[in-house]
């Protein structure tokens, strides 16, 4: 059977051309507004991180919520695709799709921050990792939320906490427990990648992001039957 969900999701994405276009144009427009505005570069960098991460999490969460409501998820699972395979393939497609859709916006943001090629490459790797983590978190959000509104609220509150933990809303890293949490947070690498473009310095947070990127699929995979069951409304 292999990766039939991967192929299916790509065909679905490509068949929804209007949706595809909007998802490229919308983040690009937001980045352009921030980049051409008069906000300090550090604030701009934080805005990009919030936008990219929210885009990744919500993209997967809302699609899965809709598929659960329409009965697609239950049909696919009963049709023979294991919940684990289904959710991990959906997360992978969601992450790659979000990366492709955000790529123009990320490149424009980097260009306005006068980033070097190596900084851009590091930022893109961090973005890809963050979108993979975000997509997996989106699965959990879709299972928890019972409507589009709930998903948006859960996603908003959860992300604010995670992004705060990741140092997005700090001017400097806190000491003590706050610092430890920041070091272990999933989106620090992405934030640091953009902060480095603004202020220079060494990019940090890659190890924590890698740990999240490896641990979350295991968690989602082990909970997959319960998560898909929860997505049925």
């Amino acid at each position: 059977m292999g990766v039939i969900v991967w192929g299916l999701e790509w065909r679905l994405a490509l068949s929804r051309k209007r949706d595809l276009t909007l998802r490229i144009v919308a983040p690009l427009s937001l980045v352009l507004v921030v980049a051409t505005g008069a906000v300090p570069a550090a604030v701009g960098a934080a805005s990009y991180v919030v936008l990219f991460v929210a885009f990744g999490v919500l993209g997967t969460a809302l699609r899965l919520l809709r598929d659960g409501e329409e009965g697609i998820t239950s049909r696919v699972v009963r049709g023979g695709v294991s919940p684990k395979s289904y959710l991990l393939q959906r997360a992978a497609v969601g992450a790659v799709l979000a990366f492709v859709q955000l790529l123009p916006a990320a490149l424009v943001a980097a260009a306005f921050l006068n980033a070097s090629t190596s900084e851009v490459l590091i930022a893109l790797v961090a973005l890809a990792g963050s979108l993979w983590i975000g997509s997996l978190l989106g699965i959990v959000v879709a299972a928890v939320g019972r409507s589009g509104t709930e998903v948006t609220v859960v996603c908003g509150v959860g992300l604010v906490l995670l992004l705060h933990m990741s140092g997005v809303f700090h001017a400097a890293s806190p000491a003590g427990l706050g610092g430890m949490l920041e070091a272990a947070s999933p989106f620090r690498a992405l934030h640091e990648a953009f902060v480095t473009m603004v202020a220079g310095g060494a990019e940090r947070g890659g190890l924590a992001a890698a740990a999240w990127a490896l641990a979350l699929p295991v968690l989602v995979g082990s909970l997959a039957p319960r998560l898909t069951a929860a997505m049925e409304r």
Binding site: I4, G71, R78, G79, G80, S82, R226
Partner: protein, 351 residues
């Protein structure tokens, strides 16, 4: 407590079909009303497409029972028709057989989820199954055939054949969002059948289907049966059933009220046509005289007769009753058919 069993090919215990990777089969499940269903367990059973249900009871939420103690046993390769009026519990029973619902109590024994060759053993077409709307019917059907364990080329062959048979070939490459309800229904049937499941469960498959397509589908299902595939079909329409089914189970108010082979059921109602006569006025002593071939079954209300010459005897019966001093209000002709089996078992009309 509901007891489920999904048996693997060696008769070992298996998990229920829903939301289990290769799970333990012990997790709690929720019905549509959000009630926690009893934990699922399994017991030893058969290794093929047979089905067994014992004292199955189910209600949606806190409502009246939809299934009220259903027992059934379906052998490998049998074609079974569940027949009953709307609300009799057919669709709910099928959803339980498809693993879509868990019974509140009773035991259900189903085939393994997958064969040793990796093929999904169940094919289910219920009401209003969701499709990937922006993809074509062909892409939808190929996806489900492959999910069911087929290789691409094999899936393409099976889907192409079924699309031809069920008359969906011309629309196969159009987006499902452009399909009519009827075309969607046919696509659902193709998706249920393409991977050649050991157990095929179809809810009202002949709905809005032209005669030619109906005959073709019957042939497909009979062929599946000949290849030891088990088929369970729910239908409110009796027309295709004698040609399709090995056995019929009549459901009424959540119970199996009659069942057997078509010939046995027809024999149970005899070959004579029944006339049910409603009398507007009857004398104290109704002494109507009829020729041989017309027998009074009941002289109550309605006044019931069996006639060997079908509806041709209506005029003669009315004349005899009128001569005996009665006034006939109406005459209902009940042919000795399968609908009559249901009527005699329940006193209710099938449709």
């Amino acid at each position: 407590m509901a007891v489920w069993a999904h048996t693997d090919e060696a008769g070992a215990r298996m998990a229920p079909p829903e939301h289990s990777d290769e799970g333990s089969g012990q997790e709690s499940r929720k019905g549509p009303a959000g009630r926690t269903k009893p934990a699922l367990s399994a017991e030893s059973g058969r290794a093929t497409g047979g089905v067994r249900a014992r004292d199955v009871r189910f209600a949606y939420g806190l409502g009246e029972p939809v299934l009220d103690g259903v027992d059934l046993e379906i052998g490998v390769g049998e074609v079974i028709a569940l027949v009953g009026p709307q609300g009799s519990g057919k669709s709910t029973l099928l959803r339980i057989l498809a693993g879509d619902l868990s019974p509140d109590s009773g035991a259900v024994e189903l085939p393994a989820r997958r064969s040793s060759g990796g093929r999904v053993m169940l094919g289910y077409a219920g009401h209003g199954g969701a499709h990937f709307e922006s993809l074509s019917g062909w892409e939808n059907a190929i996806f489900y055939a492959r999910a069911g364990g087929m290789r691409r080329r094999e899936a393409e062959g099976a889907v192409a054949e079924l699309m031809e048979i069920l008359g969906l070939k011309a629309q196969g490459h159009r987006a499902v969002s452009e399909y009519t309800d009827e075309a969607r229904h046919r696509l659902l049937l193709i998706e249920a059948l393409a991977h050649r499941p050991a157990l095929t469960v179809l809810d009202e498959p002949f709905r809005e289907m032209p005669q030619k397509t109906r005959e073709a589908l019957i042939q497909v299902l009979r062929l599946r049966s000949a290849q030891r595939g088990t088929v369970v079909v729910a239908s409110g329409d009796l027309v295709p059933i004698p040609e399709l089914a090995d056995r019929i189970l009549f459901l009424h108010q959540g119970r199996v009220v009659a069942g057997g082979r078509v010939a046995e059921l027809l024999a149970s109602v005899g070959s004579a046509t029944r006339l049910e006569v409603e009398l507007e006025r009857r004398p104290q002593q109704l002494d109507a005289r009829f020729r041989p071939g017309i027998t009074v079954v009941s002289d109550g209300d309605p006044y019931v007769l069996e006639v060997s010459r079908g509806s041709a005897a209506v005029g003669e019966v009315v004349a005899a009753l009128t001569a005996a001093g009665a006034t006939v209000k109406s005459v209902a002709v009940r042919e000795a058919d399968l609908a009559e089996v249901f009527r005699r078992a329940t006193g209710a009309e099938l449709q």
